[in-house]
Symmetry: C2
Subunit: 315 residues, 2 copies
């Protein structure tokens, strides 16, 4: 009988899950609302029932469960103090799933899961060293070294979004200033845009048009030829390129993958990023480390990532 | 019969080597001048004769050869374009040694070898994730992830000394500006000292006393209470602490080890480094990552490092 795994992606709004086979095909998928689970122990129960039904219908056998979640701790199998989830404190979600499913379960944070997905089913197949960056509401990262995610001592490695790029830069909710994700993320680029407006004393003209714009609208304007929107992408790419030129000094990746909403802007972001990256790069690395888009589909990455996490364990 | 390995440390001036047993004891050691070997193929021949003699005398058996060298490429077993060695271009030194010794040989750069030495025989025993920094004429580094040195795609990972800390900072021989090692190294701290003098318009008074001072003299002055020398250590520690606070975001080490001439300054360097590190650190890491001196003796580290490199391979 064909073996499949259950990949689960937990988000602040929704929980997406699907059965995935060894070829990275999502055979069936569904989602529930996160707020429907004030008690997290209910989640494995419902997903167990769902999996049993689906497996019977598809005539496949479930071999394991992989979970990607904000603030997921791989070593402990817990979700630790996730500000955007309804579950407070430390939640032993892996243990809950093991108890219900009686199968191998693995849990990690969402960016790390997506990085493993890139390695299994995306553009990083066969690569042993790469950096995976997600550009969304924050800047997440998964650093693969020697064929494995770098978890570090306590599973909290891979915080590239919180490397400081400006010592007295923008305030970050982490309590410090100048973190990369304050500049390179969906909200970050919008802040940069409004900074440009302010510097040019264009506030009244632009902002009076309506509410604050978001990064999607910014992308639209840039594509329509709006110079100030284009400048925001330029500046964002310049900062990202600089940060990545430092990042490669640690683990010397074969490639760097950019994923997520902001990365979908394409050339308008990639071009200034690569230009800046190469200009700051240590000569021994120059023209050797491509920065390319993720090979995963935006809609599938989260489930495939979680699925590949457990596939890696039971392989 | 007791097994030993030959550990070789190649430097610009001298080549040190020794027979090391499994307990990290250097049974016998010797050295030769690097310039005595304009032809690198002669080196394995001489060291083979030496090893045979010593092994017979000590009644031990040689099991392998480990080599630490500037610009050592672990994957290829070569020394690539080392500016401070008499051998130009790409030298396949590992192959030369394999041919002569007919034993397992491994070669890597000196900082990475010392990091492995720390793991085998120093203060990092049993650790799976740590960062090892050597502070000498440059700033070298070995990053251990998951129990192994991070070599990266082409063996050139671990260039922490070339992360940029000031975008328009001091010129670096690498061709860029603001590299960490231009500030945090023996020559770097001396530059900082002279910068302080210049800023205070004290050039004439101080520099007229004699020739440029070196970092050892600077340490002596700082210990004697010279405020400006102390300030140089303060600034150096501040910059190192900041750089390390970014460094830990990648691989989340259990500890950071400082090694080498400048690190021997002790508290006068460690105190401002740790203070700065903690002040810039992402809250999830605060007060959790000790920065401590290497557990290796300065005189033994290079040979022990090279020896442990090959011990790891043949274990």
């Amino acid at each position: 009988m064909q073996q499949v795994v259950l990949g689960i992606d937990i988000g602040g709004t929704g929980i997406k899950f699907g059965l995935v086979n060894q070829n990275g095909e999502i055979l069936v998928t569904d989602k529930v609302k996160t707020k429907g689970y004030p008690n997290p122990e209910k989640l494995p129960e419902d997903l167990f029932k769902w999996s049993q039904q689906q497996c019977a219908q598809l005539d496949v056998q479930l071999a394991g469960v992989g979970i990607g979640t904000p603030n997921g701790n791989y070593y402990k199998g817990t979700i630790d103090f996730a500000p955007n989830l309804p579950w407070k404190g430390v939640i032993p979600l892996k243990a809950y799933f093991e108890k219900t499913f009686n199968l191998p379960v693995a849990l990690t944070n969402d960016a790390k899961a997506a990085a493993i997905g890139e390695m299994f089913f995306g553009a990083a197949k066969g690569m042993k060293d790469f950096i995976f960056i997600t550009l969304g509401t924050g800047l997440g990262s998964g650093i693969v070294v020697n064929g494995n995610i770098a978890y570090g001592f306590d599973s909290l490695a891979g915080e590239v979004g919180h490397t400081i790029v400006y010592r007295n830069g923008r305030e970050c909710p982490c309590g410090r200033r100048g973190c990369l994700e304050q500049y390179v993320s969906a909200p970050g680029i919008v802040k940069t845009y409004y900074e440009i407006l302010r510097k040019k004393n264009l506030d009244d003209f632009r902002t009076s048009i309506g509410n604050m714009i978001d990064s999607a609208e910014l992308f639209k304007r840039a594509n329509e030829g709006d110079d100030l929107a284009k400048e925001a992408f330029q500046i964002t790419g310049e900062i990202l390129g600089f940060a990545l030129s430092n990042a490669v000094c640690f683990t010397r990746p074969e490639k760097i993958f950019l994923f997520g909403g902001l990365a979908q802007a394409g050339d308008i972001l990639f071009e200034p990023t690569i230009k800046s990256f190469e200009s700051y790069l240590l000569p021994i690395y120059k023209n050797k480390i491509p920065i390319i888009p993720s090979g995963l589909k935006e809609s599938e990455a989260a489930i495939l990532g979680s699925a590949s996490l457990i596939m890696k364990e039971i392989a």
